[in-house]
Amino acid sequence: MRLYIKFLLMHLKSAMEYKASFALTVLGQFMTSFSAFLGIYFMFGRFGAVGDYSFEETLICYAAVLFAYSAAECFFRGFDAFESVISNGEFDRAMVRPRPVMLLVLCSRAEFARFGRLMQAVVIFAYAIPASDIGWTADRIFTLIMMCAGGTALFAGLFIVRASVCFFTVEGLEFMNIFTDGGRELGTYPLDIYGQPVLRFYTYVIPLACVQYYPLSYITARTGRFWYALLPLAGFVFLVPCFALWRIGVRHYKSTGS
């Protein structure tokens, strides 16, 4: 952990070398996801409601997924951009360091520019939480925090899977984006509006619904089952097979010519 902070400081120092570029990227990131927010806004302007969710409820859902995705991207960027970590030889270097390889890959990238998105999620929370007609009791606040934490773990897991695939092939990685970027886009709205097949897939295969739809229905009092609030733990459980896949991948590592 101490080492990770040291690495973060180094990334920060690097980023500071290019102040203007850093500021512009943060702004750019903010604008990009702001347009998604406008998308929701206009959609509701037109139709009044999506499924039976109100504007504010959807916003909370959107912000939680956005928060989780951005946090995962901020800190697990080394896995998301793993092709480049392999191709520029950084991974070879990580293999000759006396530390867990996974930790070093985790340390290899940090995208502070993604804070723009993270900030935006916070801004939307700041608006939607008081504006919604949800009574914010302690258990509901807890559920919301669980959604963010579980979601971060889930997306981190997806990034690790994506990185592990890099050990076997460098092609077909776009396919994985269906789950990472696609998950974020789908996650804009509560998953049940897409129908049962989608909901089932995102419950049992990739537990996105467990960090989103189920706890959200607890927060919005659509269900009284408290265990729905604990379902985001599935995001952490999801990490277990991801780690296993990673270990298999490392053993198959072929390195690149130099």
């Binding site: 120092k13 070879d92 270097r93 000759v96």
Partner: protein, 264 residues
């Protein structure tokens, strides 16, 4: 002590013609060729030796170094470095070795070299007092004084290489792998790097495995040469074996002759 016995490693390489047509074809069925990068490689290196590891491009030099440094797991064979199997006890093993990849930097591009060194100290958890001592010596011997506060991106290639070598020695490894350390350097830098490597080996007894295409490196530094071609060890012996046979030919010509003779 390094011992390799019958190390084999093959890669699958996909083959396809150039052009869009064959690119589309390769989407459906693809032919793979099995390339034997290492074909029963065996050799031994004693403590304190300095070895020149040579061979044409793609002969398997880097693959061998990667097996010995724990990056690659071979398909079969045995490799013991200081009593450990590199890919099984990776963390303990890599504390003993230093690796310099001549074409790849381990320094942070945008931050001063000194900061990169400090981070490496943290990665290896070198004690502060030891670190100060090691660093001071490296700074004076490699003449790094002014470079420590310069970001790596502003260093010349020669300066960068000196910093790379220092970075690989901060944890005081017993074995140093140098993968083309003099590539692209000007004459004074080459001489400085060679001089440093020699003293490292002679004075401190660090085992050095040097891969290079620069035969002058080999002549100036090593007593023993291992030649690899198409993944097989073709020659292993003192450098005089090479030079004696050729009369007054230059060593570059001798090596070219040899590559031709072995059809590699």
């Amino acid at each position: 002590m390094i011992r390799l016995v019958d190390i084999c490693k093959s890669y699958r390489v996909s083959r396809r013609g150039a052009g869009l047509g064959s690119a589309v074809k390769s989407l459906f069925g693809r032919r793979y060729d099995l390339v034997r990068a290492l074909d029963c490689v065996s050799f031994e290196v004693g403590d304190g030796e300095m070895i020149g590891y040579i061979g044409p491009n793609g002969a398997g030099k880097s693959s061998t170094v990667k097996v010995m440094s724990g990056i690659l797991t071979p398909d079969s064979g045995e490799c013991i470095v200081n009593g450990r199997v590199p890919w099984k006890e990776r963390a303990a093993h890599v504390r003993d070795i230093g690796v310099v990849f001549g074409q790849r930097s381990q320094l942070w591009w945008d931050v001063p070299v000194g900061d990169s060194f400090d981070l490496i100290r943290d990665i290896y958890s070198v004690k502060r007092a030891d670190y100060r001592q090691i660093l001071d010596r490296l700074i004076s011997r490699l003449d790094l004084g002014e470079l420590m506060r310069t970001p790596a991106r502003q260093l010349s290639l020669g300066q960068r290489m000196r910093c790379e070598i220092a970075a690989s020695l901060l944890h005081r490894p017993k074995i140093l792998f140098l993968d083309e350390p003099t590539i692209g350097l000007d004459a004074p830098s080459k001489l400085a790097v060679r001089e440093f490597i020699r003293s490292l080996n002679r004075l401190e007894g660090v085992t050095v495995i040097l891969t290079t295409h620069d035969m002058q490196d080999i002549e100036a530094l090593t007593d023993r040469v291992i030649l690899i071609g198409k993944g097989r060890i073709l020659l292993d012996g003192p450098i005089e074996r090479l030079t004696a046979a050729g009369g007054d030919k230059k060593i570059d010509e001798l090596v070219a002759d040899m590559y031709r003779a072995f059809e590699i």
